[in-house]
Amino acid sequence: MTAPAIIPPRGLADRLTTLFWRHPRLLLSLLIAPPLLWLGVVYLGSLAALLLQSFYSIDEFSGLIVHEFTLKTYGELLRPSNADVILRTLGMAIAVTIASAFIAFPIAYFAARYAKGRWKAAFYLGIMLPLWSSYLVKVYAWKLILAKEGILTWATEATHTSWLLNAALSLPGVGGNSLSTSYIGTFLTFTYVWLPFMILPMQASLERVPNSMLEAAADLGATARQTFRTVVLPLAMPGIVAGSIFTFSLTLGDYIIPQIIGTSASFIGMAVYQLQGTAGNIPLAAAFAVVPIVIMLIYLSLAKRAGAFDAL
């Protein structure tokens, strides 16, 4: 006797599998519905509510929110004191992103091209380990490192390089009494805290560049520098942009680091925190919160126009 060509279904699991096999879209929609609902309702919904709030205004005498559509709140953003906050935050985000990119690239390049086996594991551990410890602990650690009585000052004195530190601190605008109370300190801490977010996507994109591509460039007469500019950099660009989205937007939105380290000057995140908390000015807080979103959209469209995603 030969076995039948078709095995009869052995229960609910087989029937379900059959149903999904006949209607693949059904399974897909079942899988994607919960996250889509979360994204659509909770995430985009709250974003829409935020956007809506920013078009209301606050009555200056009563302190109550006027539920009428107006652009007045956005106008307030342009007030010198508020515009300062935006420009300061933007400048910091740009500086942190550029510094992160420069520091991250050699590390990512080494990890992607040369690290093998144990070295690769050590790399991942080295990058990820700081992310496992509390963000606040790291920030306070940096406060101690950068303080006037801190390890950095001590180290410069011991190595007779205090003049370097003093020269940095005497820079107009970014300097200050000590590193922990200057913009340089804020910048260093931001760069340290966000660096892994730049390294990881960069490393992923560099890993996808096959060795033969670099050899082909050299084979055709390109110097190491030309290979870097015409092949490595364009192919790594999607990773660099992805990393810079992290460092840029994380810096734009952070309110803890500038509070703990640096001058007492306000950043966008701090402004949002104060406006919606102590000041109760929800519309202006919302308008402030829209600024990073707009900046990111502008940044991404510029990156796209510059061809950063051509290699995707």
Binding site: E215, A216, D219, L220, A222, T223, T230, D310, A311
Partner: protein, 328 residues
């Protein structure tokens, strides 16, 4: 005439692995030279030694008489068609082809004009605006070829360039590469593991085994007079006969080789055995006859009567076809 490429006792060792071991090699200018061998035999490493992506552990490499041990790849007048083509995915076909001229600083107009000439040479005129991802495998291969030729190299290296193509396309490209090489007069050095490809295309070839050259010569020479058992077996899957069998067939007590197509069925003959396998090849059959514990393959052209598996069969051959090898 100086030779295009010359190896003098060149070795490339990776730790304990001797990828290339004391290889002496001379490639004549204008030759279509093939390096043939199984994977891991050192042929690709030899190619990379010529292009400069590997440095010899010992020995000397000369390209047109000049010692290149201190010359990096980008300063060698040698270009490579890579096995995976290695086209730049973010550039269109024209920029890919013009890349070698671009890094030399040639202006855009003459550079693009020359790239178009090269594309015409490989029958891809009008494809300049496409991205590599929009091309078929055969077209990508041609772009890689045009890109390597745009620099007018004195030696063109091809690393298994036809490996990824289907049979029909591979045969067409074989003819095209051959005629291109004749027309340009450039020395081609070609790495392949496909013996029929090496035999049909090359003027001369080197058979690699375990990091050494087993034999070097013209295709007919290597096919008809293999020096070692390895060459006899690898090039054209010849019957390799042990000394005892050679002797019983009327030869000396040495290893010998006998081509399957040299054997014919006959009523009387020196080889009688049981048919153990029969394989249809399109242009005939390959029959395996087992005698004295040894499998002997014979080629039966179409039209010949095919025996049954399990039946007895007698084969004969021209005594001149029995090639005795001096080396084991």
């Amino acid at each position: 005439m100086t030779s295009a490429v010359e190896f003098q006792a060149v070795s490339r060792h990776f730790g304990a692995t001797k990828a290339v071991d004391a290889v002496d090699l001379t490639i004549a200018e204008g030759a279509f030279f093939a390096m043939l061998g199984p994977s891991g035999s050192g042929k690709t490493t030899c190619l990379r030694l010529i292009s400069g992506f590997e440095k010899p552990t010992s020995g000397q490499i000369r390209i047109f008489g000049e010692d290149v041990s201190a010359v990096p790849p980008h300063l060698r007048h040698v270009n490579t068609v890579f096995q995976d083509y290695a086209l730049f995915p973010h550039m269109n076909v024209r920029d890919n082809v013009a890349y070698g001229l671009m890094v030399k600083g040639m202006a855009r107009t003459p550079r693009y004009a020359k790239a178009e000439d090269m594309l015409a040479l490989v029958h891809l005129d009008g494809y300049g605006d496409r991205k590599p991802a929009q091309l078929s495998g055969g077209q990508r291969q041609r772009v890689a070829l045009a890109r390597a030729l745009v620099n007018e190299p004195r030696v063109l290296l091809l690393d298994e360039p036809l490996g990824a193509l289907d049979l029909k396309l591979r045969e067409a490209m074989q003819d095209e590469l051959k005629s291109l090489q004749k027309r340009l007069g450039i020395t081609f050095v070609f790495v392949t593991h496909d013996q029929s490809e090496a035999l049909s295309m090359a003027d001369s070839l080197a058979v690699f085994n375990n990091g050494r050259i087993a034999q070097i010569g013209t295709p007919t020479d290597i096919y008809a007079h293999p020096k070692t058992r390895f060459v006899a077996d690898f090039v054209g899957s010849s019957n390799v006969l042990p000394p005892a069998l050679t002797q019983s067939l009327g030869g000396p007590t040495k290893w010998s080789s006998l081509r399957p197509e040299a054997l014919h069925p006959a009523p009387f003959g020196p080889i009688t055995g049981t048919v153990t396998a029969l394989r249809y090849l399109g242009a005939g059959h390959r029959v395996t006859v087992t005698t004295q514990g040894q499998d002997i393959a014979a080629h039966l052209p179409s039209g010949t009567a095919t025996p049954q598996v399990g039946s007895q069969m007698t084969l004969t051959f021209d005594p001149a076809a029995l090639h005795v090898m001096d080396e084991a």
